[in-house]
């Protein structure tokens, strides 16, 4: 099947008000690539101007945004709501972290180990969980994630359980051309996080604009019709689960290497809900939405603490309360997330 055939078939989705142009639109391709390259250039420039605290924050947000992008691929594009993505993130986290901690692997091979762990796990989970749809899919993924979480506790001797383990600084370096790249150095860490983010961002962009990505959207809109058109929807969904798992585990492996902590908190249900929140906030099925959502959520929590401390000292109100109110307002005014609503109202070509 060629790309053109796929795009010709796609407008069959019976959705009114959809102002997004078909994927082959050449004018928008230029704009889209320019936009994404611009975002990355901006992030690159920020490395040199941000105060050190916000610089460190952004490195962390970039890694977590990769997690959110992996989640968005499955949830936003393929329409599969998983409540178990913490297991893919932590498969990467443990895959990379434990191979350094116990086997003394180098950072690059540990990263590869983490991604492979995620890919294997995602394939296995995908084959089993995709036998269900809708609410059952949510429950099955959540249960698998719970099994994964309890497994990390059960094998406490190796994983450190809920307390977790620390990767020492000297283990988080890459020998390169006679010197070493120290991933614990703030600037190096920022570049490493940005490199991962850029690679994933452009890969996701290429994927969702490709015929295969269009098939995923078609499945989300109407799976039966997509099947009738001759597509193997199970295979497409499985590929989506596996790619999503790979992206999330890459984020987990990067987290272990860059921030040096591996613990079961990241496998708990909270870290399955967070990417969902980030994606909803930034805009599901938008390429930049996950990053915007992750960043916004971070500063919502961070600034709420500051605002409370500055304006209402002694007032016994948790910052979480402010975050909750802010989220309600956002959903009221931007029901499709920030970028989703912006696309709907003003910038129809936004991918």
């Amino acid at each position: 099947m060629t790309g053109e055939e796929a795009t010709r078939e796609m407008p069959a989705t019976p959705v009114p008000r959809r102002r997004r142009p078909p994927a082959g639109n050449r004018v928008s391709t230029g704009r889209v690539v320019a936009l994404h390259a611009g975002v990355i250039a901006l992030l690159l420039a920020l490395q040199f101007v941000l105060p050190s605290y916000h610089h460190g924050v952004l490195a962390r947000v970039l890694v977590l945004a990769v997690f959110a992008m992996g989640y968005n691929l499955l949830f936003g594009y393929a329409g599969l709501l998983s409540l178990g993505h913490a297991m893919f993130f932590s498969a990467g986290l443990y895959g990379a972290g434990l191979s350094i901690y116990h086997l003394g692997w180098s950072a690059p091979s540990a990263f590869a180990g983490g991604v492979i762990s995620g890919a294997v796990l995602a394939t296995a989970i995908g084959v089993l969980a995709l036998r269900t749809t809708g609410v059952a899919f949510m429950i099955v993924t959540m249960m698998f994630a719970q099994v994964f979480y309890l497994t990390t506790l059960y094998f406490n001797v190796w994983t450190g359980g809920d307390q977790g383990v620390v990767l020492q600084q000297q283990a988080r370096t890459i020998p390169f051309a006679g010197s070493t790249i120290d991933l614990t150095d703030p600037a190096t860490r920022y570049f490493a996080a940005l490199a991962l983010f850029s690679v994933v961002l452009f890969s996701v962009l290429a994927l969702v604009r490709s015929p295969r990505g269009r098939v995923l959207v078609a499945i989300r809109e109407n799976e039966q019709r997509t099947t009738m058109l001759g597509y193997d929807t199970f295979a497409s969904k499985l590929v989506a689960v596996v790619i999503s798992g790979i992206v999330c585990s890459a984020a987990g492996a990067a987290y272990a290497l860059l921030f040096g902590y591996v613990g079961s908190t990241f496998a708990s249900v909270q870290y399955s809900i967070l990417p969902l929140l980030w994606v909803l906030l930034g805009g599901a099925a938008t390429t930049l939405g996950p990053f915007v959502g992750t960043l916004l959520m971070y500063y919502l929590i961070d600034l709420s603490n500051d605002v409370l401390a500055a304006w209402a000292p002694g007032w016994n109100f948790s910052a979480i309360g402010i975050v909750g109110i802010a989220l309600i307002l956002l959903i009221l005014f931007f029901p499709k997330g920030l970028l989703g609503s912006i696309r709907e109202r003003w910038v129809p070509w936004l991918p």
């Binding site: 959705v15 105060p51 050190s52 605290y53 916000h54 460190g56 924050v57 962390r60 949830f75 936003g76 329409g79 709501l81 309890l150 506790l153 059960y154 406490n156 450190g160 359980g161 809920d162 307390q163 977790g164 383990v165 620390v166 990767l167 020492q168 600084q169 614990t184 989300r220 809109e221 921030f259 040096g260 902590y261 613990g263 079961s264 908190t265 990241f266 909270q270 909803l280 599901a284 099925a285 500063y299 929590i301 961070d302 600034l303 603490n305 500051d306 605002v307 401390a309 500055a310 948790s318 910052a319 979480i320 009221l332 005014f333 029901p335 499709k336 989703g340 709907e344 109202r345």
Partner: protein, 434 residues
Amino acid sequence: MTEERASDMLPKTSLSRRNVLKGAGAAAGLAVGPGFVRYAQAQSSAPIKIGFQAHKTGIGASYGRWYERTTNAAVKLINEAGGINGRPVEIVIEDDGTDPNRGAEVVAKFANQHKCDIVYGTLFSHVVIGSAPTAGELKIPYYVVSEGHHVASTKLNRYVFQPGITDVKSQIQAMAPWIAANAGKKVTQIFPDFAFGYDHRDYLPPALKAQGADVIAQIAIPPTESSFTRYFPQIPADTDVIYHVMVGPAVLTFVKELGEFYGSNRPQLFGFIDSLEAVDINSPGLGFLDGSHFWEGSPRYAQPDDSDAQKAYRAAVGIDDNGAAVGDPKDISTAAHMFGCWETLYVIKKAMEDAGYRGPEDRGKLVEATEALTEFAEGPEHPQGPKTFNGKIHQCFGIQYISKVENGRLNVVHKTSIEDGIYEPEGDYTTMPL
């Protein structure tokens, strides 16, 4: 799927100019928020800023509340007495949500944005371990009040200290002589199936063995369990002592079901008060614990032989004779742990004075000065009791209390010696580079 469905459920709103302005205003507010204000360098008379990583939300919130009260009480006294090196102490509080990811972010925020001199005050082990790498990379001394064995295991780094509270390995080991001599020789352990329980699983049997007693059964209960009756038949019939360390909300059910299982004819019970911190010992369902014994880091209830230092400490923090907040008998303190905040702040004061600490450039000196400390005498600065400090493993050692539940109170029946809790060091932080 969500895109279309969400828009169908919500009323259509066209975006008015006012909404756009609101959005723009909010964005501008974010940009000029407190986070972007540049902070001036600390002057010689400027306060010493201590970043307090507090569990204000999340599972540790009840501890966090009391850690904050104790911290404020100690800082007030320190400042009234002239501060540290002639400079007042300022506490900067950030909530870590009892989450290791947020914990690490908060440590970075203290170091890079608030320009704090040190970070202090974390309780939950996973937050300590998650935050430790950041503290080490930013080279900011990090004084925790956690009672975990993580610091003493020497698996963290040179910047992490635990000078104000003993670690769980030491606590467990110190219980063994009393249990073997007074409660019984055949011990069955019931513990939650995660790290906190594993400390007890791993450290108690060898300590009891050394006292001529044995652990005859170990029953691990999954953290998701809410009913416990089906585990009780696994308790061997010849058990003398049940050693229990269940934690969390399930503890009330656990005690109630254990009572139903045994009735009036029960073995001895020994537990760690961690399960009942911030919980009233007279809560409905806990009657079965009457006559049983608990480890306490520091007594919750006022004791007849309390030292003047202990009395002054309790008054300053604001707890009554029952260990509840003055004026609110339902607000039970976390007395067995929170004294560690008080004592840690005084250790920080001592170390900063020894190091002649002036500002962040002296952080290395502060680390070395803390490592050079060897003992803390009992007194107003250390009301829980005397302590020794091992600078190589960054951990203090002290006395422990064993209390009996009688007439709805916890009465201290035994104080261990410091030596009961001493073990062989597992490593040496001082060989690591600063």
